[in-house]
């Protein structure tokens, strides 16, 4: 269950170009958050940036009662967040949303992440009991790579693709998934990243009949299911379609349910 919390920031540090890591103290969120869930942060008091900013949870430390968030500075709200100091308190709603399904039966898993979509996947790797975990991450170029060591430690293998070939394979992360999907016999693919990437992962999973869960992003109003602005079109059992809420019915969906715009 999500709560409205005032939480103390332990640290804010630059992780790589334009990306910041914020560590927040919270017994409640570190104890209750599940991989794929997010928190919704009021970046400042007052109306300068009115709406909350959703940020997915990257890792939790239950023993110490803290968790890590990574965010990209994109506009006024995230710029304020990047300027927060240790000891500051922030207004947080969380944990929110539907998490990844980490069924014990999924013994061989692939995680496919693109850009700032990689963060919830590290949390997933931490919590997953799978026997074989393969990580495939894609970035624009070498300067944007982040958390490489952590992903390497938490999975059996890590491969990186960059759009410009400045590190790892030149090309798309989905090319690596397609290359390995037959030989690896995955039970589940987990993906988070830009929509074109998710669309491609969905196609690959469908073609090879592998189960796949994707975490979607959409412009949000409230983040807790009330305003109906973060709509996503999904298939209904009757063969039609409906708009559901990314924040409350997602952000994680079975890929076969999602109708891409």
């Amino acid at each position: 269950m999500s709560k409205l919390l005032k939480e103390e920031i332990i640290s804010v540090e630059k992780a790589t170009e334009g990306i910041y890591r914020m560590t927040v103290a919270s017994d409640y969120i570190s104890a209750n958050a599940e991989p794929g869930q997010f928190v919704n942060i009021k970046c400042c008091e007052g109306v300068q940036t009115l709406l909350r900013r959703p940020v997915s949870i990257c890792s939790t430390d239950r023993a110490k009662g803290r968790y890590d968030l990574y965010f990209q500075v994109k506009g006024a709200g995230t710029k304020i967040l990047a300027g927060k100091k240790s000891g500051d308190f922030i207004d947080i709603l969380g944990p929110l949303g539907r998490s990844f399904d980490l069924d014990i039966g999924y013994r061989r898993i692939a995680v496919v992440g693109g850009g700032i979509g990689i963060f919830p996947l590290l949390f997933l790797l931490n919590e997953s009991k799978a026997v074989v975990k393969r990580s495939y991450l894609g970035f624009r170029s070498s300067g944007y790579i982040v958390l490489q060591e952590e992903f390497r430690q938490k999975s059996n293998s890590l491969e990186i693709a960059t759009d410009d070939g400045s590190y790892g394979m030149k090309g798309f992360v989905t090319d690596m998934l397609e290359r390995d999907i037959l030989s690896e016999e995955f039970d589940m693919i987990y993906a988070c990243g830009p929509t074109p990437m998710l669309k491609k992962v969905t196609e690959i999973a469908k073609k090879h009949n592998v189960r796949c869960q994707i975490s979607l992003e959409q412009r949000m109003g409230c983040g807790f299911g009330a305003c109906l602005t973060c709509a996503c079109e999904t298939r209904t059992e009757e063969g039609g379609s409906q708009f559901v809420r990314v924040c409350a019915d997602g952000p994680v969906f079975n890929s076969e349910d999602v109708i891409f715009q």
Partner: protein, 306 residues
């Protein structure tokens, strides 16, 4: 010790305080119930209802703007019958007024909904004749005195509940529209609905909203809303419920001084799930500080500069 009485009676709608959650920002109360005690909220105007279920508009449906937001949800809702069956029993667990906000494509649809709701366990009907996000019907009724008079008088015949007519600010003279609604039988008015707006992503040269335009709400609209509430209160005798960017008790008091008998809190409910309660506490604090004992004592107590 407190001798402050926050309760209000708006055309027969009895509420323990003058703070109502605005339609479209509070769903049917289920999500907010996880964060706040709904018993402490004066009333809830539920998500806009249509006769049949509506899927709503394509996303993106929201864009943040300076001190505000644009939305184009497009009245996504499960339909009035599902509301009666599934949502009223949930809401009735709480001691809070239930206001059914209705929108139709045709006068017949409005009348049918009003008739269906006359047998339902609700406290009032709010006529949404001003949703900017649907193409047919709805908005057209609220734009002219003739249109609002027609829809109000027709729905009045089928509606045995207190009837609130919600006014759009996207008109030349809101006072004329308000007068027409009053003359046609409205029991109360609520205003303002959102201001029609547009935000553009200059990199893609496209509007951010898939619907191109949407309704502007939040603190950015508050001064416009206060002025309109003032003008309407100078013109009509029926109670007025003020809204538009209320985030605090102080904001609410502005509307009440301008003549509002109660207020609705919308956008703030999306940012702060407990916004209605904070607004209510702020009103109480103001009353205490100024020695007002009843909410009605604030209403219309504006002193104009001469």
């Amino acid at each position: 010790m407190s001798n402050i009485d926050l309760s209000v009676d708006i055309c027969g709608i009895k509420m323990k305080n003058p703070v109502i959650a605005a339609s479209g920002t509070f769903g049917f109360g289920r999500e907010h119930a996880g964060y706040v005690d709904l018993n402490r909220i004066g009333g809830i105007s539920v998500k806009g209802l249509t006769l049949e279920p509506r899927a709503g508009n394509k996303p993106p449906r929201v864009a943040e703007t300076p001190a505000g937001m644009l939305n184009s949800v497009g009245l996504q809702n499960p339909g009035v019958r599902s509301f009666i069956r599934e949502e009223i029993p949930f809401l009735r667990q709480y001691s809070t007024a239930i206001i059914a906000n209705i929108a139709g494509n045709t006068t017949e649809e409005y009348c049918e909904m009003a008739e269906i709701l006359s047998d339902a366990d609700i406290d009032a009907v709010e006529l949404n004749v001003s949703c900017p996000n649907v193409k047919a019907g709805c908005v057209a009724f609220g734009n002219t005195p003739q249109g609002i008079a027609e829809i109000t008088s027709l729905v009045r015949k089928y509606c045995n509940k207190p009837l609130i007519v919600k006014l759009t600010p996207n008109v030349t003279s809101i006072a004329d529209i308000a007068k027409a609604a009053e003359d046609a039988g409205a029991d109360a008015l609520s205003l303002i609905n959102t201001l029609l707006g547009m935000a553009i992503d200059i990199e893609t040269r496209r509007p951010i909203l898939a619907n191109n335009t949407g309704g502007l709400s939040g603190p950015a609209v508050k001064p416009v809303a206060v002025r309109m509430v003032y003008e309407v209160c100078q013109t009509v005798k029926i109670p007025v419920i003020g809204m538009g960017g209320i985030f605090s008790g102080k904001d609410a008091v502005e509307f009440m001084l301008a003549g509002a008998s109660a207020v609705m809190v919308g956008t703030a409910c999306l940012v702060y799930p407990d916004a209605c309660i904070k607004v209510c506490e702020g009103i109480e604090e103001y009353m205490r500080r100024h020695g007002f004992e009843r909410t009605a004592d604030i209403t219309g107590k504006l002193v104009l500069n001469t």
